[in-house]
């Protein structure tokens, strides 16, 4: 496997880079969209059931189907990596909206009243009190999204998008195990790397959780 990697390292590194970008961008976009949506679903209670239902329905669409339908909807080419980014952003938002709404909802009433009494206005209270308290739950949702994104990106290799999934399709066509095992290994390592980064960021963002030993 190591020999195989050495012989093809340029190409494999390129695929690894694409794979990382194609999984990371949707996480970022998904979080940026899910935060305000989740807040809205929390702020206006009547929005919560429809938002959660639509998110659940979007989540049922198999990824290969979405990769193929998006070019028709977005007027992009089939091979355009944009389709993958948009599809995975859809899944990430679908997963995170509910998590964000529930996380904001789990902030206790006492904390909210204390913050208000200390002079926080609505926006300040949201940014400086509610969101930080919600960080661990949102991070947990983000970790699940990250791991599933890394796995889903490789499905796009079936329609020819260059990423680690190419190792699977190449290996399959040649009946050769080595590239497939290498691809599985690299993609698990990539998932682990994302997982660690998210945990680390969540830890940095919540210093008070470290101050008191549990």
């Amino acid at each position: 496997m190591i020999d195989y990697y050495r012989q093809n390292s340029d190409q494999i590194n390129g695929w690894l880079g694409w794979h990382a970008r194609l999984s990371a961008l949707p996480l970022l976009f998904g979080l940026l969209i899910a935060l305000p949506l989740g807040w809205l679903a929390r702020r206006y209670r009547w929005l919560y059931p429809p938002v959660v239902t639509v998110a659940g329905l979007l989540y049922t669409i198999p990824s290969l189907a979405l990769f193929i339908l998006l070019p028709g909807l977005l007027k992009t080419r089939i091979l355009d990596p944009t389709n993958v980014v948009v599809a995975l952003t859809v899944y990430t938002v679908a997963l995170l909206v509910r998590v964000v709404a529930d996380a904001l909802g789990s902030v206790s009433e006492d904390v909210l009243q204390a913050a208000t009494a200390m002079g926080y206005r609505r926006l300040g209270r949201l940014l400086k009190v509610e969101l930080p308290i919600a960080v661990p739950v949102i991070a947990a949702g983000l970790r699940v999204a990250a791991v599933s994104n890394v796995s889903l990106v490789s499905v796009a290799a079936l329609i020819g998008v260059p990423e680690l999934g190419q190792l699977f399709t190449n290996g399959f066509q040649l009946s050769y195990q080595t590239p497939i095992l290498l691809g599985i290994l690299l993609s698990v390592l990539l998932a682990l790397a994302f997982d660690s980064v998210i945990q680390l960021v969540a830890r940095v963002l919540t210093p008070w959780r470290r101050a008191v030993p549990r």
Binding site: G56, L57, Y59, T60, I61, P62, S63, L64, A65, L66, I68, L69, P71, G72, L73, I78, Y91, L95, R98, V99, D102, V137, A140, G141, V144, A145, V147, S148, V150, S151, L152, S154, V155, A157, L158, I159, L164, G165, L167, F168, T169, G171, F172, S175, Y176, Q177, I180, L181, G183, I184, S187, V188, A191, L192
Partner: protein
């Protein structure tokens, strides 16, 4: 695009013969149901046992979770290459057996972790009450813990089913049938209407099955737990956790 799909779907030539929608739909359901039944036969009893006894939970949950990081396409191609040369048969069995193994492996984690989580999340006071009423261990499991855990177990079955339906689409790549054929063949023939129609069919199938299972769940779960017929909706924190945990699909 909508017109193209409509034209393709309303063409009666696509609904007959060996490459017709009914045949591929049947294959798709067949692959999925076989995998789901085998996975359920493994995951449900194991989850009940672990949840009831509380033994081995750490190891099983860790293994089930690490499975989620494995790329499905990688598993599928790997197992086909590994196993197919050793199966000497004519027909689809060569590719069907390795594909079913992968589908089963992918279906197990959601059902297993949700069953385990559902049983172990039963309020200890409820369990104590059952014991206080003189129930034996197995009676507690079947009459108290299982009914209480049903909503979570169902959501596990639902996400496993979706995972299997989605992955069964990909098995077309390793020369099996199913609705995925239209996606893979359409791509090879540069026939976008065929691909898009196949994609719509798969998405509709997944959606219908999820709605159907949701309906079954609604009537299978005791109304004492769902709060159906009462106005107050009980939001179970364990259910929220499981919604977060029951995520992956292909």
């Amino acid at each position: 695009m909508i017109a193209e799909i409509w034209n393709w779907l309303s063409d009666s030539a696509h609904w007959h013969g060996p490459d017709g929608v009914p045949i591929h739909l049947r294959e798709h359901l067949q692959y999925s149901l076989i995998a789901l039944l085998i996975a359920a036969a493994i995951a449900l009893p194991l989850g009940l046992l672990i949840g009831h006894t509380g033994r081995g939970s750490f190891v099983v949950v860790a293994i089930a979770n690490s499975f989620r990081a494995l790329p499905t396409v990688g598993l599928l191609t790997f197992f086909v290459i590994l196993i197919a040369p050793h199966i000497h048969s004519t027909g689809t069995a060569t590719y069907l057996i390795p594909s079913e193994i992968v589908l089963v492996l992918l279906a197990i984690p959601s059902m297993l972790t949700n069953t385990y989580a559902g049983i172990s999340a039963v309020d200890p006071a409820v369990r104590d009450a059952a014991r206080g009423m003189g129930m034996r261990g197995s009676q507690t499991l079947w009459q108290v813990e299982l009914p209480n855990a049903l909503p979570l177990i169902f959501s596990g079955i639902r996400s496993s089913f979706l995972q299997v339906i989605a992955t069964a689409t990909i098995t077309a790549y390793v020369s099996l049938g199913g609705l995925g054929r239209y996606l893979i063949d359409g791509l090879a023939q540069q026939d976008y209407p065929q691909m898009a129609s196949g994609a719509v069919l798969v998405a509709v199938l997944a959606l219908l099955i999820d709605v159907l299972l949701a309906a079954v769940q609604r009537y299978a779960v005791s109304r004492g737990i769902t709060g159906r017929y009462s106005r107050k909706r009980i939001v179970d924190p364990a259910e929220q956790q499981a919604m977060i945990a029951a995520a992956p699909l292909t």
